[in-house]
């Protein structure tokens, strides 16, 4: 699809059948514009959009379905609940128009979102997190073929984000609802997406599985260096409240009770949370030590350097260390290193059940 508005030009093409697509990019990259085009709130200058086998827009063939006939649900950044209606009436608003699309079990949705006790309240009396959950429920109860989420967490504070995230995951896993998730937060994308499309200046610069796209040196490099490691749940340590993950490069220890043994799990690691050692470290508090080979060292202008490590087995890891450390440890590409991760840096924001890409 193509669209030009003022000085902004959007030209992008992608297809996805994984059921959980994330559009990722800086603000102004055009990701919300793409959602507007899918929802029918914007008209493209050229191109076509097909969702679930239905052509929503095809400029060349003169097709433009108005938004109310698209069966595309949308959750807006600021919820946009109808202020004059109760939560119950907000949820019911789209029901009368719900047809074919996907059948919805209202009680299941309301139960899953935990909003049953809010029914009689007005939107003004809800917290930000509650409002967003009601907005998700309202969109779902209209029975959309696909759910679009436009930065649904960005207006919320840290605690509220943590509160909402599991609901979005349940949406993806329990209800298996196809969704398109727009965000500029790498941790949200790493947790939710099965497939990521990275947008920059209105164009697709990368797409693929989160592990690849969000990997060091990937298109997300400018968004704060992070790595995504996938590992299998080995077991739980109830006494210490830890979960052990199995990775060929070494065991990974994350806080909390996550997943079931055998599940694949995704761990998001910030480059600033990684320390390096040339020998297997002893007597340190780091519980996770991963063996790998340095692929490259990018020395930047400032005091820091980016070290890219190929982990033994599979996966890549990026570490941000000082240039001084590089010189004093005499690190170079090809060297074996031990990457150390603090378990406490791998909190539940950063770990997630990693559904297999279908």
């Amino acid at each position: 699809m193509r669209l030009a508005r003022g000085g902004f030009r959007l030209a992008c093409a992608f297809r996805s059948d994984t059921g959980a697509l994330a559009l990722f990019g800086r603000s102004g990259s055009g990701k919300s514009t793409v959602l507007g085009l899918i929802a029918g709130l914007l008209r493209p200058d050229a191109g076509r959009i097909v969702v679930d086998g239905r052509t929503l827009v095809d400029v060349e063939r003169g097709i433009f379905l108005p938004p109310h006939r698209r069966q595309v649900g949308m959750v807006f950044q600021d919820a946009l609940l109808f202020p004059h209606l109760s939560v119950r009436a907000n949820l019911a608003y789209g029901r009368r128009f719900a047809r074919s699309g996907r059948p919805v079990d209202a009680d299941a949705v309301i139960g899953m979102l935990g909003i049953g006790h809010l029914m009689a309240r007005r939107p003004a009396g809800l917290s930000g997190g509650e409002r967003q959950r009601v907005a998700i429920g309202r969109a779902l109860l209209a029975g959309p073929r696909v759910l679009l989420l436009d930065e649904p967490l960005s207006a919320l504070d840290f605690e509220r984000r943590r509160e909402i995230m599991p609901y979005v995951e349940r949406l993806r896993d329990t209800l298996a609802w196809p969704l398109v998730y727009v965000s500029h937060a790498v941790d949200e994308v790493a947790r939710i997406a099965r497939e990521v499309v990275v947008l920059e200046d209105g164009a697709v610069v990368a797409s693929g599985a989160p592990g690849e796209v969000l990997a060091p040196g990937g298109a997300s490099a400018g968004f704060g260096a992070v790595s995504v490691i996938e590992a299998r749940v080995a077991g739980h340590d109830a006494a210490y409240g830890l979960t052990a993950l199995d990775h060929p490069a070494g065991p990974i220890s994350v806080p909390g009770h996550v997943g079931r043994p055998g599940d694949m799990h995704r761990v998001l690691v910030r480059a600033t949370d990684v320390a390096l050692a040339v020998q297997r470290p002893r007597d340190v508090s780091f519980r996770t030590v991963l063996l790998g080979t340095i692929r490259s060292i990018a020395v930047e202008d400032g005091p820091t350097a980016r070290v890219e490590i190929a982990l033994r087995g599979e996966g890549r890891l990026v570490a941000l260390v000082t240039r001084k450390a590089i010189d004093e440890l005499a690190l170079d590409a090809g060297d074996e290193v031990f990457a150390m991760l603090k378990a406490t840096a791998l909190d539940e924001r950063a770990t997630a059940f990693a559904p297999r890409v279908r």
């Binding site: 929802a39 709130l41 109310h68 004059h84 789209g94 128009f97 939107p123 003004a124 009396g125 209209a142």
Partner: protein, 232 residues
């Protein structure tokens, strides 16, 4: 002194009737025009906007005279109305209501337009993504949220209609029992020798009616605000 004469009662009843009919009659059209001006983009929008506001800036006598030319028994519209519906406006209370409606229309449109513009347009977009056709989302989201403004516009129009004098007297004259509203009656009283007492009575009545209308609208506004304002 506060004993109203039968003539005073007639003028009072007529005034309230004319103002009510003028307000209720103009309301649907005012809502439609205000919505168009607030939400739609079309060629000639500026012209429509100017036309709506014309009665506000023209001398009322000019408006009344133009109404007489158009809606008088020999005027093009007046003739057609009489032959088609048997409806005569000139020198009838219905004509007074028309004059009041025309004079109050700009005030009403202005208030309603502002309140519609104040409603977040993205709420209608949200309604559309939920499957609501445009008219439905307008009727269930935009209009209810603009209701306080609609009410304010109606009150302004009613007040204007109650006090309208220039256009009314030019268009429908001041016939006791038919077109002699409170302002006309007060004017007539002041022109009659010994009519001071009657003018004073009617003045007090006019004040009482205005205050009552204001109180009623305040009470209504509070109820509407509570209904749409989103208090928990």
């Amino acid at each position: 002194m506060l004993e109203l004469s039968p003539d005073d009662w007639v003028a009072l009843r007529l005034s309230v009737k004319v103002a009510c009919v003028a307000t209720l009659g103009a309301l649907p059209l005012a809502i439609a025009v205000a919505t168009l001006l607030a939400r739609a983009r079309f060629p000639g929008k500026t012209l429509v906007d100017a036309l709506v506001h014309l009665p506000l800036v023209m001398p009322p006598v000019v408006t009344g005279y133009l109404l007489l030319l158009a809606f008088g028994r020999r005027g093009p519209i007046g003739e057609w109305l009489e032959s088609t519906f048997g409806l005569v406006l000139s020198f009838r209370w219905t004509g007074a209501a028309l004059a009041c409606a025309v004079m109050g229309f700009p005030l009403m449109v202005r208030a309603i337009r502002l309140s519609i513009e104040a409603v977040d347009g993205r709420l209608a977009a949200a309604a559309a993504t939920l499957g609501a056709p445009p008219l439905w989302s307008y009727a269930t989201v935009t209009l209810p949220l603009a209701l306080p403004g609609v009410l304010a516009g109606a009150v302004l129009c009613f007040a204007k209609a109650l006090g309208e004098f220039g256009a009314t007297i030019t268009f429908v004259s001041s016939i006791p029992g038919e077109t002699r509203t409170l302002p006309s009656a007060i004017y007539a009283a002041t022109q009659t020798p010994g009519g001071d007492e009657s003018a004073m009575r009617l003045t007090l009545v006019a004040i009482a009616v205005s205050v009552a209308a204001l109180a009623l609208s305040e009470w209504l506004a509070r109820r509407v605000r509570r209904a749409v304002g989103g208090a928990p």
